[in-house]
C-alpha cells in the first residue's frame, strides 16, 4: 500500500448565482486503495475540523451505477479511466500530483454549488417520450413476444446508460446526442417500441434542443468518455430515426 501527498485544485462556488473560483488544497496520507470520492471524504473531514465548508459534490451508490457522481478531473469527465468517478481509485495517481477538479461544464447543466450541477434537463427529455405507453396490468405473457438474442443484447447495450452526463461534459458543444440516442435506439430496436417510434424520436429531439444542448459534430468524445461505453452507433441510429420520422410523420 502506497501513501501519497497531493495538491487539489477544486472549483468552489457557493451557489448558482455566485462567482466561482479554483481553490487550492493540500492533502496528505492518501493511500492508493482509496476511491477518488473517499479521498474527497478525507479532504472534507479535514476541512470541517478546520471549520471550513466541505466541498459539495453529487455521489450516492459508489458502485458505478446510479449516475450521480460527476467530476471533471484533470480535464476529463470522470478522470483518466473510462469509468465513473466513484470507481476511480487513487492508484491511478502518484505522490506529488496536482489534480484539477471541476464540475460538468454545460449551459444546460447549471452549477448548484461547488461541484454539483443541475441535470434535470435529462429527466425532461425522458419525460418527452422515453417510454412505451403500456398501463400496468395490460401486458401479455412475456414469452409471447420472442425477441432475437442479438437484438435483445443490442437494446440492452443502449439501455445501460446511467444518465451521468459525462457525454455532455466531454463534448466541446455540450451536445446530449449520446444520452438521447441511447434511449431512442433501445426502444426503436425492440418490438415494444414500434407504435410510438416516430413520435418518440421527434419529441425527444425537440426537447433536447429546447434544453439548450449543443449540436453533434461526430468527434466521438462522448463515447470515448462514457463510463458505460455507449456506442456512437446510437447517434447514427437516432439520426436515421429522426430523419425517417420527419419525412414520414403522421403528426401534423
Amino acid at each position: 500500500m502506497n501513501t501519497m501527498n497531493l495538491t487539489l485544485k477544486i472549483w468552489r462556488q457557493p451557489n448558482a448565482k455566485a462567482k466561482g473560483e479554483m481553490k487550492s488544497y493540500k492533502i496528505s496520507g492518501i493511500n492508493d486503495h482509496m476511491s477518488f470520492l473517499e479521498m474527497l471524504d478525507v479532504l472534507n473531514e479535514d476541512l470541517q475540523k478546520k471549520n471550513e465548508d466541505p466541498v459539495v459534490f453529487d455521489h450516492d451508490c459508489r458502485e458505478g451505477i446510479c449516475g450521480s457522481c460527476s467530476l471533471v478531473i484533470n480535464g476529463r469527465p470522470h478522470g483518466p479511466q473510462q469509468t465513473t468517478t466513484c470507481q476511480l481509485h487513487m492508484r491511478s495517481f502518484k505522490d506529488g500530483d496536482t489534480i484539477y477538479i471541476e464540475p460538468w461544464r454545460a449551459k444546460a447543466f447549471p452549477v448548484i454549488k461547488d461541484l454539483m450541477v443541475d441535470r434535470s434537463a435529462f429527466d425532461r427529455i425522458q419525460h418527452s417520450g422515453g417510454y412505451v405507453s403500456v398501463n400496468t396490468g395490460s401486458a401479455q405473457d412475456a414469452n409471447n413476444l420472442p425477441i432475437g438474442k442479438e437484438i435483445a443484447d443490442e437494446a440492452f447495450n443502449s439501455a445501460t446508460c446511467i444518465g451521468c452526463g459525462a457525454c455532455v461534459a466531454a463534448c466541446k458543444n455540450a451536445s446530449a446526442m449520446l444520452f438521447v440516442s441511447a434511449k431512442i435506439s433501445q426502444l426503436a430496436m425492440l418490438p415494444q417500441g414500434q407504435a410510438e417510434r416516430k413520435k418518440r424520436a421527434e419529441s425527444m429531439v425537440a426537447q433536447m434542443d429546447a434544453e439548450g444542448f449543443g449540436a453533434c459534430t461526430n468527434t466521438g468524445a462522448c463515447s470515448a468518455e462514457c463510463p458505460k461505453e455507449i456506442s456512437m452507433a446510437n447517434i447514427a441510429m437516432m439520426n436515421r430515426e429522426y430523419l425517417g420520422a420527419k419525412l414520414t410523420s403522421e403528426a401534423v
Partner: protein, 637 residues
C-alpha cells in the same frame, strides 16, 4: 392495541382474489379528486406512482435525488424471481411461496408471501411490455438462472444490472405520467416528518435540499417507499444517502416498527480494505452459480491461492451442504464465512475474507462464457481491488445488504397510522427473518404495480375526497418541529463530525447486532448507543446554514434517526431469545451451529410502539399463523 393483519380468511390460493373483490372501489371519475403522496422513487415508489396515476389519481412524488432514476434499486444486480416455470423444472406459485417462507425461517406471513408469488408472474409480463431488456436465449425467449435457497431456475435477469433495467422501466412508466400531468415530481426534496391529524396521515413536511425551504404537502394518503435502513451500520452495500428518516418519523408519529433486528448480511461483498472505507460493494449472488467458495484447510496458510493444491482447500459450503452447495441462503453462507475466519482460516491481508473461485467454471465453459455472464461484475471487482478475477480467485466477505424489518403493515400495506402506507423494503412484510436472493426486486414491484393500486382505493373510498389544507395546527406543529431540529444542529457547534459519530454507531451495531449476537454483547451495545446519542445531542459539528445546499446538515438529520433506530434494533435482538434467519443469537444454536428457532415462544412479528424520547418502546406481538406449511428445522444439507 390489537394488531389486525387483515389477512383474508379462506384457502391460501383464493385469499387475494377474494380480497380484491371485497375491497371498495373509487369510481373512475372520482379518482382525480384524490391526491396521493409517494415518498421515494425506487422500484416500489416509481411503480406505485405510475400505476396510481394511470388509474387517475393525482400523485406527488418526492425524492432527495436529483433524478428518480438514482434511487438505490438501480444497484440491484442479480435478478428478479418469478414463478413462471418457463424452464419446466418444477417451479410453481406454491413452490416460490414455500421457498420464500422457508428461506425466511418461518417468520413471515403465509398470506402475504403467497400473494407475492402469485403476482410475480405479472411483474415479468409488465416489465417486458415496457421494453426492459431481460436476458434471452437464441430462440428469443427469456432466460433464467438460479439463486440461493431454490432448486429451480426462476430468476430473470439483465446481465448484472437487473435493478437498473427494472428501475428504468418503472421510471419510464412514471415519466409518461409526468408528461400527462398526473404525476408531479419533486426532486432534491427530502421528507422530514409525517403529519397526522384526526388519527390519519394527512401529509408530509419536506426540506428542499437546494434552498433549504421547509414545506408542507397535504395528501389523502401517504406512501412511504423509502427503502431500508442498512446504513445504520455505516458500512453497507446501500448507497450513501439511504436512510431511515421517513419511516422513523412515521414511527414516531404512531406507525409500529416491525422486526427491526432482522437485517441481512450478504455473503459476497468485496472485503473492507481500510478505515477510510465509505461503503461496501456487493458481488452478486448469481456468482455463486459458478463460483466455488473456499478457504485453506490450515489456519495461517499464506500461500497464493493458486499455489494451494486442491486437496488442501476446504470448499466448506459444498462440504457442509451437499444438496444446495454454494447456493445456500445468504444467512447460512455468511455465517459459515464468519466461522472459517474465526478459526483463523480467512484469507487476504485482513484475514477477513474467503475465496470465490471461478477457475473450474473457466476450465469447463471457457473464459468467454464466464465473461458473457458476469463480465460487468468482474470488471467492477478489478476496478476496486486492482486484481484480475479471471486469473486469481475473488476475495469476498459478508456485508450488510438489506433490512427485512421495517414499518409494520397489514395485508393492504397500511401502517398502524391510517392512510400511511409502506411499500418495498420500507415495510417488514414478506421476507421473514431472511430474504432470498432476487426477491427484493420482486417485492418492490409487486407492492407498487399490483398491490397498492387495489388496496389504496379501499381506504380512499371509505374516507372520501375531503378538501386538503396545510393550514392546520398539525402541519404547523410538524413544520415548527423540523425547523427546531435543524436550528439545534446548526447552532450546536460541537467537536465531532457527523461521519465520526456515524462510524462509531455503525461499528457498534456491526459488532454486537450484526452477523451474530449475544445477550451480553447487546447489553453492552445498548450502553454505547446511549452514549453516542448523548454525544450527538451535545457535541456534533454541522457547519454552514439551512438556506443552502448543506450535505453535512442532511447527514446529521439522518444520523439522529439512525441512532434512535439502532437502540430499537438492539432492544429487539435482546427480546428475541431464539435464532432465526439473519438473527443469530449465539446462545440459541443447534449442535451443527445452525439457527435454532423457538416456535412455541417466538413465532410472532415484533412490532414496536414509540412512546417518547428515551422511553422504552412497547412491544406488540402479531402471532404468525401457519396453516399451509409445516414448521421444520431449515435444512439445506
Amino acid at each position: 392495541m390489537i394488531l389486525d393483519s387483515k389477512i383474508p380468511a379462506g384457502p391460501l390460493a383464493e385469499k387475494w382474489e377474494k380480497h380484491k373483490f371485497n375491497l371498495k372501489l373509487v369510481n373512475p371519475a372520482n379518482k382525480r379528486k384524490y391526491d396521493v403522496i409517494v415518498v421515494g422513487s425506487g422500484l416500489a415508489g416509481a411503480s406505485a406512482a405510475a400505476s396510481l396515476a394511470e388509474l387517475g389519481y393525482n400523485v406527488k412524488v418526492f425524492t432527495y435525488h436529483d433524478s428518480p432514476r438514482r434511487a438505490h434499486s438501480i444497484a440491484a444486480q442479480g435478478g428478479i424471481n418469478a414463478a413462471k416455470n418457463y424452464q419446466n423444472d418444477g417451479d410453481s406459485i406454491h413452490r416460490l411461496f414455500y421457498d420464500t417462507i422457508k428461506g425466511g425461517d418461518y417468520r413471515a406471513r403465509e398470506g402475504n408471501v403467497y400473494r407475492l408469488a402469485q403476482v410475480s408472474v405479472d411483474i415479468i409480463d409488465q416489465c417486458v411490455a415496457q421494453g426492459v431488456p431481460f436476458a434471452r436465449e437464441y430462440g428469443g425467449l427469456l432466460s433464467n438462472r438460479s439463486f440461493g435457497g431454490a432448486q429451480v431456475s426462476r430468476t430473470f435477469y439483465a446481465r448484472g444490472q437487473t435493478g437498473q433495467q427494472l428501475l428504468l422501466g418503472a421510471y419510464s412508466a412514471m415519466n409518461r405520467q409526468i408528461a400527462a400531468g398526473k404525476v408531479k415530481l419533486y426532486t432534491r426534496c427530502e421528507m422530514l416528518d409525517l403529519v397526522v391529524a384526526d388519527g390519519k396521515a394527512k401529509g408530509i413536511i419536506t426540506r428542499n435540499l437546494i434552498t433549504g425551504a421547509i414545506e408542507s404537502h397535504a395528501g389523502h394518503a401517504v406512501l412511504l417507499c423509502t427503502g431500508g435502513y442498512g446504513n445504520v451500520y455505516y458500512l453497507s452495500t446501500n448507497a450513501m444517502m439511504c436512510n431511515v428518516t421517513a419511516t422513523w418519523r412515521a414511527h414516531k408519529r404512531g406507525a409500529l416498527f416491525g422486526n427491526p433486528s432482522f437485517t441481512q448480511i450478504h455473503p459476497t461483498c468485496i472485503p473492507v480494505s481500510g478505515d477510510y472505507q465509505s461503503k461496501l460493494t456487493l458481488m452478486s449472488e448469481s456468482l455463486r452459480n459458478d463460483g466455488r467458495v473456499w478457504v485453506p484447510m490450515k489456519a495461517g496458510d499464506n500461500r497464493l491461492p493458486t499455489d494451494i493444491p486442491e486437496e488442501e482447500r476446504d470448499y466448506f459450503l459444498e462440504r457442509k451442504y451437499p444438496s444446495f452447495g454454494n447456493l445456500v441462503p445468504r444467512d447460512v453462507a455468511s455465517r459459515n464465512a464468519k466461522y472459517v475466519c474465526d478459526e483463523g482460516r480467512g484469507v487476504g491481508n485482513t484475514k477477513l475474507a474467503v475465496y470465490l473461485d471461478f477457475a473450474d467454471a473457466i476450465k469447463r465453459d471457457t473464459e468467454a462464457v464466464v465473461k458473457a455472464k458476469y463480465g460487468n461484475l468482474f470488471d467492477m471487482y478489478q476496478q476496486i481491488t486492482g486484481e484480475n478475477p479471471y486469473k486469481t480467485p475473488m476475495r469476498i466477505y459478508p456485508a450488510v445488504h438489506y433490512t427485512m424489518g421495517g414499518l409494520w403493515v397489514d395485508y393492504n400495506l397500511m401502517t398502524t397510522v391510517p392512510g400511511c402506507y409502506a411499500l418495498g423494503e420500507a415495510n417488514f412484510s414478506d421476507h421473514g427473518a431472511n430474504r432470498l436472493g432476487a426477491s427484493a426486486l420482486m417485492q418492490g414491484l409487486a407492492d407498487g404495480y399490483f398491490v397498492i393500486p387495489y388496496t389504496l382505493g379501499d381506504y380512499l373510498a371509505s374516507t372520501g375526497a375531503g378538501k386538503l389544507s396545510t393550514d392546520t395546527p398539525e402541519f404547523k406543529e410538524a413544520l415548527d418541529g423540523v425547523q427546531k431540529r435543524i436550528a439545534k444542529l446548526l447552532t450546536m457547534k460541537g467537536e465531532k463530525t457527523v461521519d465520526e459519530l456515524h462510524r462509531k454507531l455503525g461499528l457498534t451495531i456491526w459488532d454486537y447486532c450484526g452477523m451474530s449476537r449475544t445477550e451480553e454483547g447487546l447489553k453492552k451495545a445498548k450502553a454505547i448507543v446511549a452514549d453516542i446519542k448523548k454525544e450527538f445531542e451535545t457535541n456534533v459539528k454541522v457547519l454552514g446554514g439551512n438556506e443552502e445546499m448543506n450535505q453535512s446538515l442532511e447527514k446529521a438529520l439522518r444520523l439522529a434517526d439512525f441512532i434512535e433506530l439502532g437502540a430499537l434494533m438492539i432492544q429487539d435482538a435482546l427480546d428475541r431469545n431464539e435464532s432465526c434467519g439473519g438473527h443469530f443469537r449465539e446462545e440459541y444454536q443447534t449442535p451443527e451451529g445452525e439457527a435454532l428457532r423457538d416456535d412455541d415462544n417466538f413465532a410472532y412479528v415484533s412490532a414496536y410502539e414509540y412512546t417518547g424520547d428515551n422511553q422504552a418502546p412497547v412491544l406488540h406481538k402479531e402471532v404468525l399463523q401457519f396453516e399451509n406449511v409445516k414448521l421444520t428445522q431449515r435444512s439445506y444439507k
